[in-house]
């Protein structure tokens, strides 16, 4: 294990885990407190359509997938706003359509042998320096956006009606959140895969919010939990020769279950109550 730390690919994997954790800690917390996990899942699966389209058109995957996924995410935001009674079903349609479109477009792409399914669990051990720079820049951008609009995000997430009365542009903030989700998804599924992105979007914030007193604290603690589970998962994958993404998810689920047991036993007069 110690010898691995001297290998460049493993160092890059650790850096990728750290950068992915920052994105998931920030955006995942907003997803969890806004109860948008289903929408985030739909955005993640719709991103497959973008990957397939890029491969079909013979264009670079990142920019095409980014534009496609942001457009899909905003379309979902419009559906939720305009057709609330049918939103659940229609988002489900987009979820399935995006993924199947991606797979079909790859099928139609002559001579392309890459396995689209590799996006399910990603390839964190094959991260390049270019990937790390893009991820770091995206983390900085997302952190700046959340910092600048922190109180608007807080008001919108806690009490939408009150936020609206306060003058917070709730619809635009929801759109902004959808764009953040799309950017985070596109940057992360190539590295850590769809399953891991969804696990890191939901599990660490869910665990963190039971131990914190503010949205900002939840984002920080969720990021630290993300770092902990990704590093532990990587170590487990190396030690037991397992798929890295799946090992990270397994550790995250174990942490979630352990937290559920411990917090159930927390006395009612706990300092956090």
């Amino acid at each position: 294990m110690t010898a691995l730390l001297h290998l460049q690919f493993f160092q890059y994997a650790l850096a990728a885990a750290l950068l992915a954790s920052i994105a998931c800690g920030m955006v995942g917390t907003l997803i969890t407190v806004n109860r948008r996990t289903f929408l985030a899942g739909a955005v993640s699966h719709a991103a497959y359509g973008g990957v397939g389209l890029a491969i079909f058109l013979g264009m670079p995957v990142l920019p095409v997938t980014l534009v496609f996924t942001v457009a899909a995410a905003l379309l979902m935001a419009v559906i939720v706003r305009r057709l609330p009674a049918r939103a659940d079903s229609l988002i489900g349609v987009l979820w399935a359509a995006g993924m199947s479109a991606g797979i079909l477009l790859v099928d139609f792409s002559e001579g392309y042998n890459a396995d689209l399914m590799s996006y399910l669990f990603g390839s964190i051990l094959a991260v390049s320096m270019r990937d790390l720079i893009i991820m770091a820049a995206a983390d900085l951008l997302m952190a700046a956006i959340i910092f600048f609009w922190y109180k608007d995000f807080l008001a919108m997430s806690f009490d939408t009606e009150f936020a609206r009365a306060l003058g917070v542009p709730v619809e635009r903030m929801h759109d902004l959140l959808q764009i953040l989700i799309a950017v985070a998804v596109v940057l992360l599924i190539q590295l850590v895969g769809l399953v891991l992105v969804m696990a890191l979007f939901t599990i660490p914030p869910m665990v963190a919010e039971t131990h914190t007193r503010s949205l900002g604290q939840t984002m920080i603690l969720a990021t630290l939990i993300c770092v902990g589970v990704t590093l532990s998962g990587l170590a487990l994958a190396v030690a037991a020769n397992l798929t890295s993404g799946a090992a990270i998810v397994a550790v995250a689920v174990a942490v979630c279950m352990l937290n559920a047991v411990l917090t159930r036993r927390r006395p009612r007069n706990s300092p956090l109550a």
Binding site: V33, R35, F147, F148, W149, Y150, K151, D152, L154, A155, S157, F158, D159, T160, E161, F162, R164, A165, L166, G167, V168, A208, E209, T210, T212, R213, S214, L215, G216, Q217, T218, L272, A273
Partner: protein
Amino acid sequence: MTSAAPTVALRHVTFAYGTEPVLEDIDFTVMAGDYVAVVGPNGGGKTTLIKLILGVLSPQKGTIQVCGESPRKRQTSIGYVPQHAAFQPHFPITVLETVLMGLPREGRRTPGYRAEDKDRAMTALKQVGMEREARKRFDALSGGQKQRTLVARALVAAPKLVLCDEPTANVDPHGKVCLFDLFASLVPRHTVIVVSHDLVATASSVTSVAVVNRRIIQRRRLDAAMLTLMYGEHGASCPISEYLQGLPQSHPHRP
């Protein structure tokens, strides 16, 4: 604006979601220091009325003024306690930060709060008797304590007008009495409009009652016409009406 100008003035206001009017030709006046109960059946337009006064909705016809100007221009003059606030059960936020959320947002959207803002929030919490709970998580409070916190959030910006939309929903009977006592204690410093289903509790302490059911009737005392608008043609003879009409309608602050 003269000192006699009403705090809230709706003139010939009509509002519809789609084509069916929810409110039609509404005239509604609330003077400074009044404590007004807005009652009516479900779907009668009570919450729509509150949203129009807030400036969240705009009427198709008529005019709305708050303190002599359009509601959008007087947003900081209005404190708002929303209906059945659908909070995430485990949202990570303290009582103090919940109250701080009520401060005007202009120019201060980034994290962190000034000491003077925290002082204002503590003052608002003292006003509702919740200062000892300031450091607690909001989700650890009882239903009545949560509503008191939301009233403190509405008061933190020292508004002229406080709008409460069904503030006693999900509150036990004792908590309801305490909340109505709290609203009564806010006047005449604040003008208070409370939407409620609880006719008995509101009718005993307010300065006037407005019954809303697509149209509006606003009087100092409940009368047969108001009960008919509320309950239909047999409203005036329903068992509760005699009791309601017999209740004193003078407010303790306005002998």
